[in-house]
Amino acid sequence: MAALPPYAGLGERVWWYSFRVICGLIFLFLILPILIIIPLSFNAEDFFTFTPGMLAFDAEAYSLKHYVTFLTDERWTRAVQNSFMIAPAATLLSTALGTLAAIGLSQGTMPYKGAIMAVLISPMIVPLIISAAGMYFFYSRIGLQGTYAGVILAHAVLGTPFVIITVTATLVGFDRSLTRAAANLGAGPVTTFFKVQMPLILPGVISGGLFAFITSFDEVVVVLFVGAQQQKTLPWQMFTGLREQISPAILAAATILVTFSIILLATVEILRRRSERLRGMSPG
């Protein structure tokens, strides 16, 4: 798809431009639905569509009232609190366990690697509704259903495959002679891990952690079954909001979440570039 060559015939020219128009339309399809809710969230009316006033850029047609609802209504504030309690706890758990396991798995001497990998990755493959059903049955047997602990454990296990995949990918480029050099210079395994290995794989660990965070933060199905009313998270509140009482406060929540995901995406991108640069520096 290089630039259009000067000798291109008419048909080729037409196709070249129409292909770009088609691609542009598909990009619009991808991005427009996300952007369209941003102006709508400032609607002064309780409508889900643009009012004539909004289209005329009348200042009175815009307001922050849905944001006020989002920030003051007890249902929304509680949901936000719950989300910011459950997601970090689950992230911490899955990042710690996942990083350790990824290091073990990438040692090359790991016995039964294929089978273990299949078990560890399975939470990502099994459809959420099946995981949710199984967890609901099992957690109600052992008394974890409807508790914060149950939701955190469930979200942590859903996040671990992402940590394993990202950290393993970082470890592929990790130069093993660095740990040997550290050991040669008299560092113990623990010092080697924290002073040599960890700083180098940190970008992978952090982006794995971000994946785990977003998995928990955005998860509805499992929390719907494993949690009870007290554990209602932000996506759950949006889900009930959409299903039962459609209130434009959802659009305010959605706008805030879009901003949030832009920040997360930027962080992951920066980390990925940094990791590639770091790995480029080390030989091999």
Binding site: I34, A118, I129, S207, D218, A254
Partner: protein
């Protein structure tokens, strides 16, 4: 990995010479620095390394087994478990063992007596309603029959058969007793039969359910068709985008890739709600069409809460999962092949179709299977935008868990779905490889 004691070939004595020397001096065994035989010492160090690797994986393995694999195993168990009947009605179960519904219309008198005794006991323990609702999943009316019989069972004396039939004529029907007999075991295939629209007939044979009650095969079929449709639309929209991204200069394509990654990172609920906002009757799209005069105000299009809504919203949600694998395969296709084809006289179309496209098939396979796997298990989006005609089998599973409380059937449906996903995943592993999963 080579140990210093082995020595390199550049050193003065060659390895053979060294070994010969060692053989002379140590009696055939090569020793490590600490005096133990080298072979033993290496094996020990390898074992220690393996153990350390395993110990690092162990915490997570235990965690996943406990919090994830155990629930799945529990669900498998629940889909066949039927302990409640033999636990609560031991006498009836024993008495019905001898009876063959194909031979005689009704079971022997002993079974009637056993049922009355069991019923009195269950009534005292207040468990007859639970047993009744369990059997109600298999034959409607059982719940009411058990409640009614439980109330009056203690008054039945003498002729148990006549007494029971006097309480309710259902006890004189063969079907009632066949159902009891078919579900008297501690384990049953009944849930799986229901999940594929089958049931036990009057004499215990397996028959199809009446036409009006057949819903699950239809739902499985619809899930497959809608998932195929979604896979098709994502491929149709994703292929040009991936092609464009793979063939643009790095700087531009990285910038455009953000447009793909942003939806990927945006909350599922946000994307679903924006489609509701856009597609509903008083929504943005319909308003625009009315304003442009393309449709009447009275004839607004119904684009959501039906199959159209499910397909549009899920195509948007799953599109990045198609574009990213396609893009990563297309990036590795060298442009020289297409150029060579063109220089040999191929038209643009031939060069693309005969040279470029075949090389992109691995990407199509990976993306298509990924999207298909993800969509057949989708729950949230079909639930919110699918109305009644656009829901999947997963919505039925959720319904049985939280509304009808028929957990056994929910588990059986989930197990069938799980087997389908595992089969597809095995295929994905064969084509792409489990280790090649990449994120972002």
């Amino acid at each position: 990995m080579t140990d210093a004691t082995l020595g390199g070939p550049s050193r003065a004595p060659s390895r053979e010479e060294q070994a010969a020397m060692a053989e002379k001096s140590e009696g055939g065994v090569m020793l490590a620095a600490d005096g133990t035989p080298l072979k033993l010492s290496l094996a020990r160090s390898l074992r220690r390394k393996r153990l350390r690797a395993f110990l690092l994986v162990l915490p997570l393995l235990a965690f996943v087994l406990l919090t994830f694999i155990a629930p799945i195993a529990d669900m498998l168990f629940r889909s066949v478990e039927n302990q409640i009947i033999p636990d609560n009605m031991p006498r009836t179960v024993a008495a019905l063992e001898e009876w063959d519904p194909a031979e005689s219309e009704l079971p022997p008198d002993a079974a009637f007596e056993a049922l009355v005794l069991d019923m009195v006991e269950m009534e005292a323990a207040k468990s007859h309603t639970r047993v009744g609702s369990r059997l109600n999943y298999e034959q409607s009316g059982m719940s009411g029959l058990f409640r009614k019989t439980g109330r009056r069972a203690d008054r039945v004396e003498g002729d148990y058969r006549a007494g029971l039939i006097a309480i309710d004529e259902e006890w004189g029907e063969r079907q009632t007793w066949t159902t009891l007999k078919n579900f008297s075991g501690a384990y049953t295939l009944g849930y799986f039969l229901s999940a594929v629209d089958m049931t036990y007939g009057e004499t215990g044979e397996i028959v199809a359910k009446p036409e009006l009650q057949q819903i699950y095969m239809f739902l499985f079929e619809r899930t497959l068709w809608l998932s195929l449709a979604i896979t098709g639309t994502t491929l149709l929209l994703g292929y040009p985008i991936a092609y464009l991204l793979a063939n643009l200069p790095m700087r531009t394509s990285n910038l455009l890739l953000i447009l793909v990654l942003l939806p990927f990172w945006t909350s599922l609920l946000v994307r679903t709600s924006s489609w509701i906002v856009i597609l509903q009757q008083q929504g943005v799209l319909n308003d625009t069409l009315v304003a442009l005069g393309l449709i009447d105000d009275q004839n607004r299009l119904s684009l959501i809460f039906n199959q159209t809504g499910t397909i549009v919203a899920m195509t948007h949600i799953l599109l990045p999962f198609m574009i990213l694998p396609l893009y990563s395969v297309m990036k590795t296709i060298p442009p020289s092949y297409v150029r060579a084809a063109k220089s040999l006289g191929a038209t643009n179309w031939t060069a693309f179709w005969r040279v470029y496209f075949p090389q992109s098939i691995p990407g199509i396979g990976a993306g298509a299977i990924l999207v298909f796997i993800l969509s057949i298990g989708y729950y949230i989006t079909p639930e919110l935008v699918g109305g009644t005609s656009g829901v999947f089998i997963s919505n039925r599973i959720a319904y049985h868990i939280s509304s009808s409380l028929n957990w056994g059937l929910a588990a059986a449906l989930a197990v069938i779905l799980l087997i389908a996903v595992m089969g597809l995943y095995w295929l994905y592993d064969r084509i792409v490889g489990i280790d090649n999963v990449k994120l972002g």
